[in-house]
Symmetry: C3
Subunit: 133 residues, 3 copies
């Protein structure tokens, strides 16, 4: 079973907390035990797992990445978004989360964030639930 | 089946080789063929796979990350550990390893390292073994 | 089922597009729905998913990583390839891709790249296909 989450980003760089959307898909799947795959099918956006309680944490991650990977640099790609492609490779396009007792087995402070690096855009996240056999 | 490994770190930054702990869980599961998911449920610690033979390799990775992500910086998160959150996103919270013939199919030099970025602490690593159907 | 792809790199740093090799393994497996695990068993090479249409994109990622992680630095590992180990931890040794309708469910612009950081060498990539039960 594959489900999609639509994410509408509003800024050039933006981390969107999609934990409750993913949790809802897990619940509706009825799967008790297994693995949840969260996959971003874009090349200028990724997905990470980090603290969801204090929004300053993902703000700090974004500011760090913006400083680390300058928007203008020694780039040849003509579309002017090489920085977004580089951040995507650093952060990665997917995350796996264990499903236990019909829920995502996240740590107390963990949340799942869609990472927009070249917004604002309409984006998609694919979620696949695989039941343990 | 989900098992946990307890890791007691002793320094602020520390890479702990957990390969034999994970291998033991694979062996005890009796699973011949499948996937091993190694998942860190923390937001200031991650997991990587790199060389285990020469301890200088993970020392060099830690020194590099400490220089790349300064402990004090343009951070808003008040707990003073934004550097640890950033490193966690760069390294990632999980690894997957193929199980073949009842063993982790690691390369000759590969070892699995729990990456502490905000120690010393008592930490946990969740390991899930999924048998191929 | 585990299959291997042999990759012969020709430069010190090189991203090799292995999408069609992985797609071929998926097709030959006959698996209609499941997960494809792409795993690099080396400690100085990784795997990423990024844009395959314009070769400038992976050129820009490589140039960025070469500038970020200098070949000579504050390193203790005596083999002189600590930069390659560091890049491997940043990029990661594996990727997962959803299989749907007997094909990799990649985004329009996504391609799978083997990332050589210490070439030229003969390398291997392990691909495991797991069918949904």
């Amino acid at each position: 079973m594959i489900k999609s989450i639509n994410v509408k980003t509003r800024s050039h760089t933006e981390f969107v907390n999609i934990t409750s959307d993913v949790q809802k898909i897990v619940k509706e799947s009825g799967v008790k035990s297994g693995i949840c795959y969260v996959y971003v099918p874009h090349t200028t956006a990724g997905v990470t797992i980090n603290e969801g309680a204090d929004p300053s944490v993902v703000r700090d991650i974004q500011v760090f990445l913006n400083n680390l990977v300058p928007h203008s640099g020694d780039y040849m790609h003509m579309e002017g978004n090489s920085d977004a492609h580089i951040k995507t490779t650093l952060v990665g396009p997917s995350q796996i989360i264990i499903i236990d007792d019909r829920k995502l087995l996240l740590g107390t402070w963990q949340a799942i964030f869609f990472c927009e690096f070249d917004g604002a855009r309409n984006r998609r996240v694919n979620v696949k639930i695989v039941k343990e056999s």
